[in-house]
Amino acid sequence: MMRPLEKGVANLEHMAAVLTAQAENDPNLLIVTSDSRGSGKVGGFAERFPKQLVEVGIAEQNSVGISAGLASCGKKVFTISPGSFLSARALEQVKNDVAYSKNPVALLGISSGVSYGGLGATHHSLHDLAALLAIPDLDLIVPADNAETEAALLSYLENPRPVYIRFGKKAMPHFYESSKDVKIGNISILNEGKDVLILATGEPLAESYEAVTNLEKEGVSCSLVSVHTLSPFDETTVLDLASQTKAILTVEEHSVYGGLGSLVASLLMEKRIWRPLGKIGFPREELVTGNQGEIFRHYGISPYGIESYVTKMLKKV
């Protein structure tokens, strides 16, 4: 049964709080910024630990290369830059200097998806999951709330390895009691139902949660899963849930080409789980202008959009 959710803070703000707390006892923890300390919410961290923040200026390629060098010397490195630039401009450094060279850097792609709203396509990252899912030795985590954010950061600190963690910037509700309820490397089952399985990643989990709450009131029984970890992908649990449902829907703040929807679709086809599958995300076109919420609603990343999609899918089952 779905319960009302309390509001948390933006994942980005929680990220800064977690790193500040962790830096108290860990002089090896470094943050590398490319003129992004403000947008990364780490201005306070910089004031408190000036020797643990490395500023490289507006130079994303260099920021990733330098981070790789620092990590090769045992530093725990969090590299902060907008997801758009980190995953496109610095893609070769991510691929070669971090992943291929196995330098354990935590790449924090901030203000990702369409968080920048009206600033337009230069600042949107609709491609980052598609680009990075093809790179070996790079974990991919898209936290939906503060607990998942904290779990992702602590997971890296406990076992540093190359990882890209994708953050939006709006305040998110709490989906868990604490970060201990999140198992990085798995998916999280937030609700179990028999009619439809909804898999959401990142901030659209909030819209999905509200949609599931409404659908349950209308008598539609839904499973809701948070896919916070896309790589490694928890195939076993996804297949188990998929085989027990009538229809499947993925929801993501990303192109429907190459992200969660594509990942799920290829897995189900390969394993012969024949179910109707819907993908909500962004089409391969220049997106409409607007703030994040307006863009979400335009493309159906809204409680209404998700409910409508589920209702239509179930009519055809």
């Binding site: 200026g57 330098i66 090769s72 530093k75 200097d97």
Partner: protein
């Protein structure tokens, strides 16, 4: 190490480089041979590193940003017993541990390089880590001259000066040729010394194929406290093999049997003259 012994080793590394290229039937012959003397002096006379110390946090680091000269690096590491000789017998071959660009799957290779314009940023990170930790190790980074058209190098140069990394020594293998022609025809680099100086480096030029001059220049780093050092090493592409020197076609070419035999004869003769 004595200069005569260093010269003998450079000769041996040239032989080994050509053996690797011949057995792999592939390699960047010209750029390998231009930087062999630099590698010789670094690994035998400068770097605080040995096969026993490849994970020592206090070791000096050598980063080869011009990754296409992998055969030269493999030759040196193999001759100095970092890498088992068997591992570099089929560079780039099926299931070979050695790829055609440096891989840190091989002991002694610090970073994976090959895509150009990467090594300098990584080196800045390593040198910065030393400063943050109060460690004394140094970072030596070899970049190709053609590689300097990659803008990421200049981002790294700015950062090296900004962080006052006088524990970073960048060596430019200035052989003046790249795959399409002269560096000055493809994308003019000059005045290169002034560019690096403007970016905050202390710069010295040297004959990069003169073992004694290299030994002297490396003993003088850092050139200035608080500044990264840059050694503009004027070299000859294909150095040591008469018909390869300054010949564009030897950027990436494997000698025929006849050419290989002549190259080995020339190196044998040079070796005899060194005794």
């Amino acid at each position: 190490m004595e200069i005569c012994e260093l010269k003998k080793r450079a000769n041996r590394y040239r032989v080994k480089t050509l053996e690797i290229i011949k057995s792999a039937n592939a390699g960047h012959t010209g750029g390998d041979l231009s930087c062999i003397d630099i590698l010789t002096v670094l690994y035998n006379d400068v770097l605080n590193i040995s096969p026993e110390k490849i994970k020592d946090p206090d070791r000096d680091r050598y980063i080869q940003s011009k990754g296409h000269a992998a055969e030269a690096l493999y030759a040196v590491l193999s001759e100095l017993d970092y890498i088992p000789a068997d591992w570099v017998k089929q560079v780039g071959g099926y299931l070979s541990p050695a790829t055609g660009h440096p891989t840190n799957n091989l002991p002694g290779v610090e970073q994976n390089t090959g895509a150009l314009g990467h090594g300098l940023s990584v080196s800045v990170g390593i040198a910065l880590a030393a400063k943050l930790d109060g460690k004394k190790y140094r970072v030596f980074t070899l970049v190709g001259d053609g590689e300097l058209a990659e803008g990421s190098n200049w981002e790294a140069c700015m950062a090296a000066a900004n962080f006052k990394l006088d524990n970073l020594v960048v060596i430019v293998d200035r052989n003046r040729l790249q795959i399409s022609g002269s560096t000055e025809d493809v994308m003019a680099l000059e005045p290169l010394k002034l560019k690096f100086e403007a970016f905050g480096f202390a710069v010295h030029e040297v004959d990069g194929n003169d073992i004694a001059a290299l030994k002297d220049i490396f003993s003088a780093v850092p050139f200035e406290t608080g500044k990264p050092s840059l050694i503009l090493a004027n070299t000859i592409k294909g150095k040591g093999i008469s018909y390869m020197e300054n010949q564009l076609k030897w950027h990436h070419r494997v000698p025929t049997e006849e050419q290989y035999s002549q190259a080995m004869d020339e190196l044998r003769q040079e070796k005899e003259e060194l005794v």
